[in-house]
């Protein structure tokens, strides 16, 4: 077994309609303590998880979207987002929450966590992994 494995969390489902987005996030948070190389991919309806302006008061469910902004503090700094999935849904990156992290190797400069990727880049990203968790 290698010291550190590459973990990819593949998020393909919308939030609130089903619990997968929330419970996937719980795995990411716990997993961060294991010091693996962690990446998140938002593809298909998964891109809806990080749309800004979520307000769940009316459905009486917990709004867990602020947690994505906190992932940088857990050293989860690579959030891949499918370009094609955004386009198909009439969204642009401006509709997403700004997700950033402070780069300790670069004098704590604030950097973007979101990386837009197309289909071929997603295919390559998946091939690079050791473990893929699908939600």
């Amino acid at each position: 077994m290698s010291e550190s494995k590459k973990f990819l969390y593949v998020n393909r489902k919308a939030p609130y309609g089903t619990v997968y987005a929330l419970e996937s996030l719980e795995v990411v948070l716990i997993g961060a303590a294991f010091e693996q190389d962690v990446q998140l991919l938002f593809v298909d309806d998964g891109v809806f998880q990080i749309v800004k302006g979520q307000d769940t008061k009316g459905i009486e469910m917990k709004n867990f979207s602020p947690t994505y902004s906190a992932l940088g503090d857990y050293e989860v700094t690579k959030m891949y987002v499918s370009k094609e999935s955004l386009e198909e849904r009439g969204l642009t990156v401006d509709d997403l929450m700004p997700l950033t992290y402070e780069d300790e190797d670069d004098d704590w400069a604030e950097k973007d966590s979101i990386i837009l990727v197309n289909k071929d880049e997603i295919a390559a990203l998946m091939e690079e992994q050791d473990v893929v968790l699908s939600f």
Partner: protein
């Protein structure tokens, strides 16, 4: 009659099937992840627009708000709350859920 659709049209076929099978004069209510069908400029928007002449499309406001898309929906879609959902179920003689 009232049709309800609760799944994203990008994930499941239920909205498209509903649009194809709803009679003229139907009311179609988007709830839960179904509200993504109300998004402006999406790949299914034209399909939704094409039935607006013959059917009325509603979306559940609390579900739009939860998903942060209340200001991103197409013109012509009527937003209702849970009380409005109840009214729709009363005004129409039956309810068909596209699960």
């Amino acid at each position: 009659m009232l049709h309800t659709v609760n799944k994203s049209p990008f994930e499941k076929n239920s909205l498209v099937s509903c649009l194809e099978h709803a009679a003229d004069g139907s009311a179609i209510l988007l709830i839960e992840d179904g509200v993504y069908g109300a998004l402006n400029g999406s790949a299914v928007a034209d399909k939704v627009k094409s039935v607006m002449g013959k059917s009325t499309i509603y979306a559940l406001g609390p579900d739009l708000d939860a998903r942060g898309i209340a200001d991103k929906i197409m013109d012509g879609i009527k937003v209702v709350d849970y009380a409005g959902f109840v009214d729709l179920a009363c005004e129409n003689d039956k309810v068909q859920a596209w699960l």
